[in-house]
């Protein structure tokens, strides 16, 4: 396969998004505002870790080395992770957790819907399963955006702060580099420039309903495609990789 290296990297990017945001959500176990929400958040986390496993397993099959999905998930250095910066941002208060999930899920819904049409059968299959899960994640987050934005003064204030804090990480969703371009011309990857408009339209509606506004600033953070992250990722990895790194010969 001519595009094997690019496809490998593409799988890492998709797998890492799910791995890292799934990890962040898993930190919230027993910490949600009420029990039903605790279950909802861990359920989304569970979907994402499952998705990470699927993409990283496919990556391991594409690799020339004899590695498993766990080797990929747990044994890479920080600058070889390619998740979007937004996925590694801290949970913050519930407003931050929800706004992060809202921005990500609306993007993922349209992204995976497009990926179901990929010429790569494996990617298309994972995308079909994912799009069903993400639809629920998106509805869950959207529902909270409206309720919290239009709830109390306090909840509105917190939501507006979360939007200000996280908006700068949304530009990365639509970046295309050589990996995207090569795979796009092979009919494998998604043209993210086509998703931007849909995404914007879809997030504006609930924000308006919730009387929330988008920030005035336009500068966007970037780096994850090159493995350059925020300071958050190193801490996630040192916790996540602890047992695998401390006992490299052990099987779990």
């Amino acid at each position: 396969m001519e595009t094997k290296n690019e496809l490998y990297k593409y799988c890492l990017r998709l797998g890492d998004d799910a791995l890292i945001l799934g990890h962040r959500l898993s930190e919230l176990c027993s910490k949600a505002p009420f029990l039903e929400e605790d279950l909802a958040l861990t359920n989304i986390s569970l979907d994402m870790i499952g998705r990470a496993q699927a993409f990283l397993k496919y990556a391991s099959e594409l690799s020339d080395n004899f590695i498993t999905e766990d080797d990929i998930a747990y044994r890479r250095p920080e600058n070889e992770y390619y998740n979007h910066l937004i996925t590694e941002q801290p949970n913050g208060d519930f407003a931050h957790t929800i706004v992060r999930q809202f921005f990500v899920s609306v993007f993922e819904y349209h992204f995976f819907e497009a990926l179901t049409k990929s010429k790569d059968k494996s990617l298309a299959a994972i995308a079909s399963k994912t799009v069903k899960e993400v639809k629920y994640h998106m509805e869950h987050a959207t529902d909270w955006v409206v309720r919290l934005g239009d709830g109390t003064e306090e909840s509105h204030r917190r939501m507006q702060i979360a939007i200000e804090d996280l908006w700068m990480y949304t530009g990365e969703f639509f970046e295309m580099d050589y990996v995207d371009d090569i795979l796009l011309s092979a009919g494998i990857a998604v043209d993210k420039s086509l998703i931007k408009e849909k995404w914007m339209k879809e997030i504006i509606k609930p924000l308006e309903e919730a009387t929330l506004i988008l920030p005035a600033y336009t500068h966007m953070q970037t780096g994850s495609k090159k493995g350059i992250h925020t300071e958050c990722l190193g801490h996630i990895l040192s916790e996540m990789q602890y047992l695998q790194r401390a006992y490299p010969d052990a099987k779990w």
Binding site: S26, P33, D38, T42, Y74, R147, L148, S155, A250, W252
Partner: protein, 315 residues
Amino acid sequence: MHNEHTDQHFQLRIDTEGHIEPRDYMPEGYRKHLIRQISQHAHSEVIGMQPEGNWITRAPSLRAKQILLAKIQDEGGHGLYLYSAAETLGISREEMIEQLHSGKAKYSNIFNYPALNWADIGAIGWLVDGAAIVNQVSLQRTSYGPYSRAMVRICKEESFHQRQGYEIMAKMMNGTKEQKEMAQDAMNRWWWPALMMFGPHDKDSPHTGDAVKWKIKRESNDTLRQKFIDKTVQQAELIGLKIPDNDIKWNEKTEHYDHGEIDWNEFHRVIKGNGPCNKQRMDHHIKYHNEGAWVREAAAAYKTKKLKKEELVIG
């Protein structure tokens, strides 16, 4: 409403193995006993999420992380059914949480112990859930309908939890020297607290009298504890784990395992609040409950606004 006739009728129903349902007459003592027991059971499921949650972010493989997440989710779900079962007796979830925070309501003592290494996740599933199942299987026949039905559902899931816990232990006992040490260390720390989960010896158990008559409790503490020991000792031997009790041995006469005396001083110390994690578990629950207050308030405010808008439209 309350007279000797209704009391007799109630007891007759219980004696003939009938279920008591929420709208049926029940003596106040029966209602109170159930609220205390079911809410304690619900709180145990919820507080139990903490020690296991302590390892989610360090779970050593993608599979292990998913299994642990799913398991903790089940526990939370059990908490929900049990809160609902208790609500049928006329108490709200908010009141139950207040009672938990004030110390009026208890939760299982076992969760006042820390989860210190990955094998603890195995030990919690295998020993703690294993002990809980023995008790819960017996509670499937409890006399209060909603509680009994919640137990039937819960037992199905708990047996999966126990298997996954044992699988972790078996894997570690089959692993490196360090993994074996972790597994034995976890065994040493969880064995005795697991035996204490069944409560005091029958002769010292304060709540047993009415609970037995009302068939809320179907088997005695010591009977259930012995069942647990008998099935667990062999499972431990099978994977090479040592039971941390030199007096454990098979008694051919009784056809049960004999065991050493439980340290009841420790049991009472932990119940009184001086276990390793009592304060931490409660502080955690209170902290996140309080931090979530603005979310619950906002959700309620939104609901009210929405209802008003609908009324305007209809009106």
